[in-house]
């Protein structure tokens, strides 16, 4: 295995006791690459409307939402979305009870 290959995400070379390299995979984000490239629309937060209910975090199929405790304008927890891997499915927008999340068209050339 070349050094370049070993440096790729998720791939780990281990050496066994006899000195042979073992091509082992270790779990890491992005087994399918930067899935954020899939997006045509991105979920965007309007912090003032968020009530910190965690529902978007709970239902995100991709697990790309982290809740930032106390980071909202009223001290509430607000979602922080990892756009590297967010696929723009819109589930978080659909489950948000206060319409704090909106799907907006992905700017061309970014993402």
């Amino acid at each position: 295995m070349s050094g370049v290959e070993a440096a790729r995400r998720g791939l780990v070379a281990r050496i066994d006791p006899a000195g042979h390299p073992l091509p082992l995979s270790e779990a890491a984000p992005g087994s399918a690459g930067r899935t954020g490239f899939w997006r045509t629309h991105r979920p965007v937060l309007e912090p003032a409307r968020c009530v910190g209910c965690y529902l978007c975090w709970l239902y995100c199929p991709e697990d790309v939402i982290e809740m930032a405790e106390g980071a909202g304008p009223r001290g509430q927890a607000v979602p922080v979305i990892d756009y590297e891997y967010c696929k723009g499915c819109g589930v978080c927008v659909d489950v948000c009870p206060t319409r704090a999340l909106k799907l907006v068209e992905e700017p061309i050339g970014e993402g």
Partner: protein, 319 residues
């Protein structure tokens, strides 16, 4: 992260750490991705995952990459449960002969799709349940063979379009109702059986927790919307899942040592039309055909109510 011990009652009981990495190849809005995420949160790092081929496997393990932080074994389509039985037997033998894992509970969690469970893997599942292996079996049911291009399975519901149950002059989608996998599991008298739905995550995770804690075979049958296969909007995954429960198309059951219980009661049912109308796979259905499905669901609900001994699911109330 250890397996979850405390009951899951509210969102605050759900562990924050994750055992399943994002950025895999599952489609936008795929419910199976959410189900795997919740499952792995509950079972934690000491589970050995044994997986039958299907969408989840193919999309999360493109060699040499993986989304699974757990030990993970690929199996063919027909032998998920046989492989799981073997791993469990090997663990027991290692424990007996060499005393390994004496103070750790290592458990085998088998995962397969509906095609791999209701049809092709049925004999090996039956053997696993009959022999009483200590395996938790999770079937994520997207109601067709999705990975190979939406072919019907024994789990495809009545009237659903698939590529092998087309809609035309001779055929109007799937001609038969769904196979009763819960009835099949019941016939094996295993200690824990449940149905779960991703719109009710605390209920689902509590069932995963109980299935994991069961000593002996357990089976959790999970409803799993597939956005391209069901012809639904990506963001509607949870909405459709909730409607399945609210219309009685899907009943949230738990059967502990043969005793059945409905875990999510529905005092007023919505008409099945509301569930069918938002899915492209049912778009061809006429009002008459919808009424036929409604009558089928009415009968099913009555049967469940009789079985659990209370009116857990109420009558249809048009809004």
């Amino acid at each position: 992260m250890e397996a979850l011990k405390k009951p899951v009652r509210t969102i605050w009981d759900i562990p924050r750490p994750e055992q399943f990495a994002p950025g895999h190849n599952m489609c936008q809005g795929c419910a199976a991705a959410l189900i795997m995420r919740m499952l792995m949160k509950v079972v934690g790092k000491d589970a050995i995952v044994v997986m039958g081929t299907g969408c989840v496997e193919v999309t999360t393990t493109p060699f040499p990459y993986t989304s699974w932080k757990n030990p993970w074994l690929h199996l063919a389509f027909e032998n998920t449960a046989a492989g799981a039985s073997g791993v469990e037997a090997a663990l027991k033998a290692l424990q007996r002969k060499y005393g390994v894992f004496k103070d750790r509970y290592i458990k085998v969690v088998a995962i397969a799709g509906d095609g791999g469970t209701f049809d092709i893997g049925l004999q090996s599942l039956s053997g696993m349940m009959e022999r009483g292996h200590d395996v938790m079996y999770v079937v994520y049911d997207n109601e067709a063979y999705m990975n190979t291009g939406i072919q019907r399975s024994g789990a495809t519901p009545l009237g659903a379009w698939t590529t092998t149950t087309p809609v035309g002059k001779r055929m109007r989608g799937e001609p038969r109702p769904k196979k009763d996998i819960i009835g099949i599991a019941l016939a094996h008298r295993i200690p824990y059986i449940a149905t779960a739905n991703p719109a009710y995550p605390t209920d689902m995770m509590e069932k995963f927790r109980k299935a994991y804690e069961t000593r002996g075979p357990s089976l959790v049958h999970v409803y799993s919307p597939c956005t391209p296969g069901w012809r639904i909007r990506n963001e509607h995954t949870i909405h459709v899942s909730r409607l399945a429960v609210q219309t009685g198309m899907w009943v949230q059951l738990e059967i502990e040592n043969g005793k059945p219980r409905v875990t999510v009661k529905v005092p007023k049912r919505k008409p099945v039309r509301e569930y069918l109308r938002i899915q492209g796979r049912f778009r061809h259905l006429t009002e008459e055909e919808i009424q036929k499905i409604q009558r089928m669901v009415d009968e099913y609900v009555e049967e469940i109510n009789r079985w659990v001994g209370e009116q857990a699911i109420g009558p249809v109330v048009e809004e």
